[in-house]
């Protein structure tokens, strides 16, 4: 299977190289993708948990401002 193409622009020499990723670059590419996906999933989980907590508050007739007034919560 061919690896993704990349472009490298050496701005000191102005040389531009288009080529397939080598093994090390492909490994870094996969690592970057996994890293991004994991961080994105974590952020989405946090956002969902926050929305769920706010829905619970609302069902109790409370708001985030009420918690802040009690010195709880924050960013």
């Amino acid at each position: 299977m061919s690896k993704p193409m990349i472009r490298i622009h050496n701005v000191t020499t102005d040389e531009v190289i288009d080529r397939e990723m080598n093994d090390a670059e492909f490994a870094q590419y996969q690592s970057n993708q996994e890293n991004l996906m994991a961080r994105k999933a974590e952020a989405e989980e946090k956002a969902e948990a926050k929305a769920a907590a706010q829905a619970k508050l609302t069902s109790l007739g409370l708001t985030v401002d009420d918690l802040t007034a009690l010195g709880l919560g924050g960013n």
């Binding site: 193409m5 622009h9 701005v11 288009d18 961080r39």
Partner: protein, 175 residues
Amino acid sequence: MGALTIPSGALDGVLGGAAAAGGMALISTTTLAGNTTISSIPQTYVNLQLNLFRVKNTSNFDFYAFPNGAVHSTDEFSNRATTGTMSFRQDDYIRFSGSTTVQANNQDNGWTFIIYNYTSTTAFKPFTIVGDYYNNGKFVVMTSGVIRDTSALTSLEIYGAGSSNSGTVQLYGVK
């Protein structure tokens, strides 16, 4: 009447040569083609400014910047909005797009990305991003943060959907 004498280097920043103190010089103009690395960045400036324009994916995807080629931990705080109210977001990597991806096949996307003190080998690198991108409506992006890496920044990868990325990146050095 005497001849006008201009000190050597006084117009360098204006004419695109070496920047005088407080000035800026165009280092390079790069056409994106897939994930593109701007390498061998000169270590002779104080700050870097990148202008990215007409940047496009052919699938819905975010655009990122990877300092020295990797996802570095960052503290990033962003405000992003379509119209009116801005919303807050915290990321931990450098992302040009916001709560939605950049819409495929649209090139109404552009950002200015400034990295401060990029040559330091002891300090984290603060950065700011301002710009605008499109996904069924315009999204304004205003971001500030810090790259939690003490290595000098010698290369920067512009990372998108893959081989389909296109657009232009101007790299300026600021004295």
